[in-house]
């Protein structure tokens, strides 16, 4: 086999495998949280609830909230995949070699965009399948249908495409180093702000519990399609913006890529 997409698959096979198995690993991690929270020394006392019952929203919804937080973390980390993709080929020799090929740098950039969709797509399919399987096990255990986040996963897939569409031209033009500095600055600021708020705001923990309950309601309503027409319209609009933005981003990246090569160290 030949081609830049094949090269990207070979180069990023570990990432593809992580995308495939990460949802299962996430559920395994939640088993660990469950074992910590349950029992005499755990947070959860007085209620003998099963692992799957804690995945239901309600009084014992710790795992449900952890699942949501875990999703947010994973999707934030998904951004780092992009920087790794570009840093792997951030060499002047390679870039000028690709520029000398018949299709030029377009083929190089094309491979990056395709592999990103493959990684996010693999993660999406794996998430839906793994969650479906775990919900089946939960139904066998509890007799209840556990909430499914399929709509959220699909929405987040397109949010990721839109974020990458905004980020990649910047990476292509200025290089990965600048991108990493920007990402760390944003993350650091957010973490510091959150810590300050947690330490000094009155009733911070009550607010977090309140938000988690409302978030659970929103997710449940979103899944049950109990939304207003306006919400449905804007949520339906997002993918229609994300897909053309991703394609347009490809053309912009092609334009700026060779200028960005001059910033590489070697």
């Amino acid at each position: 086999m030949t081609g830049t997409v094949y090269k990207e698959i070979r180069q990023n096979l570990p990432v593809l495998l992580i995308a495939l198995f990460a949802p299962l690993a996430g559920y395994a991690l939640m088993v660990l949280f469950y074992l910590i929270m349950r029992g005499d020394r755990g947070i959860l006392t007085g209620n003998d609830v099963s692992y799957f019952e804690m995945l239901l929203p309600g009084d014992n919804s710790f795992l449900f909230v952890w699942k949501l937080l875990g999703l947010l973390m994973i999707y934030y980390c998904a951004g780092s995949i992009t920087t790794n993709l570009f840093s792997a080929d951030e060499k002047k020799k390679w870039s000028y070699f690709m520029a000398s090929t018949p299709r030029g740098v377009k083929r190089q950039i094309y491979g990056k965009y395709v592999i990103l969709v493959m990684i996010y797509g693999t993660f999406l399919v794996s998430q839906i399948f793994t969650e479906g399987f775990m919900n089946w096990l939960g139904w066998l255990d509890t007799g209840k249908v556990l909430p499914s986040f399929t709509n959220v996963y699909i929405l987040m897939f397109f949010v990721q495409l839109l974020l990458r569409a905004l980020e990649i031209p910047f990476l292509a033009r200025y290089g990965v180093k600048v991108g990493i500095v920007m990402r760390l600055t944003v993350l650091g600021t957010a973490v510091v702000a959150f810590m300050i708020w947690l330490l000094f705001a009155p009733s911070a923990f009550d607010i977090i519990k309140n938000i988690s309950e409302h978030l659970a309601d929103f997710i449940m309503n979103f899944n049950a399609e109990r939304m207003t027409d306006y919400m449905t319209f804007f949520i339906s609009l997002l993918p229609c913006i994300a897909i053309p933005a991703y394609i347009l981003s490809y053309f912009i990246s092609c334009k700026g890529y060779l200028k960005g090569v001059t910033n590489y160290d070697k």
């Binding site: 997409v5 479906g132 399987f133 089946w136 399929t150 027409d229 949520i235 229609c240």
Partner: protein, 287 residues
């Protein structure tokens, strides 16, 4: 072993596996649960994982057959081949959606009942969803198309020629749906000749749809346009029909009259691509 014999052997192994991987779970589930509970429960359903897995039976069968018969896993149809073929990707998306549009108009004309009136905002949302849901669901329909179009059809064509491959392939694809058809998936259960007429109609519909999907695959050299078209046919066209008509009584054609309107319109459109297939074959013979 001659190439034809080898091809026939691989085809038989593929078909046995594709049927077994899908039919065994479907028959067990039909025997133990109501169809609406296990197959039609949507993304919140507890058996969604099984629906996804069995829906991908043709792809799983194709991979297993390649491994068993040492054919190798490399398949050129897995390449996107966008260059020069964008038009086939666009046709793959737009033709089924256009079929959905016409289907919605037929429903609105009063040939069938609709039970909902949607606001303009919701109709716009359905139109947008028709487009991108077709792309998302292509991840799912790839599981069928990699088996039927990328593996089965080329093998059949080399054995029996293109016209027979289209007809036999369509019948096999339609009969593959039989455990679902007999419990009401495609046409409901309330019609004359249930369930045998349903299986015959499904086979006929699959023959016509197969013409379109085969044309897309052969023209683009890739399986992805067929996967997108299949998803657009299954999901996108329903959204379009609902946007135009104001709603359908059920998704997935569980009401016979709505299903008949749908497949009649879309089968007629897809059959046109059968004509293109024949013309392409003649052009190749002349050249």
């Amino acid at each position: 072993m001659t190439n034809k014999k080898q091809g026939a052997k691989r085809l038989v192994i593929f078909l046995v596996l594709a049927y077994a991987i899908a039919w065994i779970p479907w028959i067990i589930m039909n025997a133990n649960y109501d169809f609406k509970d296990w197959f039609m429960s949507g993304d919140g359903g507890v058996f969604m994982w099984l629906t996804l897995l069995t829906g991908g039976a043709p792809a799983i069968a194709a991979v297993l057959t390649r491994l068993i018969t040492k054919e190798g896993l490399y398949d050129g149809m897995l390449r996107l081949k966008l260059r020069g073929n964008i038009k086939y990707y666009v046709i793959a998306l737009l033709v089924p959606l256009a079929g959905g549009l016409i289907r919605g108009a037929v429903l609105l004309a009063g040939l069938n009942t609709v039970n909902d009136t949607l606001s303009p905002l919701m109709r716009s949302s359905l139109v947008m969803q028709a487009f991108w849901m077709s792309l998302v669901m292509a991840f799912n329909t790839f599981g069928e198309e990699y088996g039927w179009r990328a593996y089965m059809n080329p093998k059949m064509e080399s054995l029996m020629g293109k016209p027979a491959a289209v007809i036999v392939g369509g019948i096999l694809w339609g009969v593959w749906h039989a455990p679902l058809t007999v419990v009401g998936h495609n046409f409901g259960t309330d019609y004359w000749g249930f369930p045998w007429l349903g299986i015959v109609m499904m086979s006929g519909y699959c023959i016509c749809t197969g013409m379109f999907l085969m044309w897309l695959t052969q023209k683009s050299g890739s399986v992805y346009p067929a996967a997108i078209a299949h998803a657009a046919n299954n999901n996108g066209s329903l959204y379009m029909a609902a946007a135009v008509s104001g709603g359908l009584t059920a998704t997935a054609g569980a009401v016979f009259s709505e299903a008949l309107a749908g497949i009649a319109v879309q089968a007629a459109i897809y059959a046109l691509f059968g004509v293109l297939l024949v013309l392409d074959s003649r052009r190749k013979k002349i050249n």
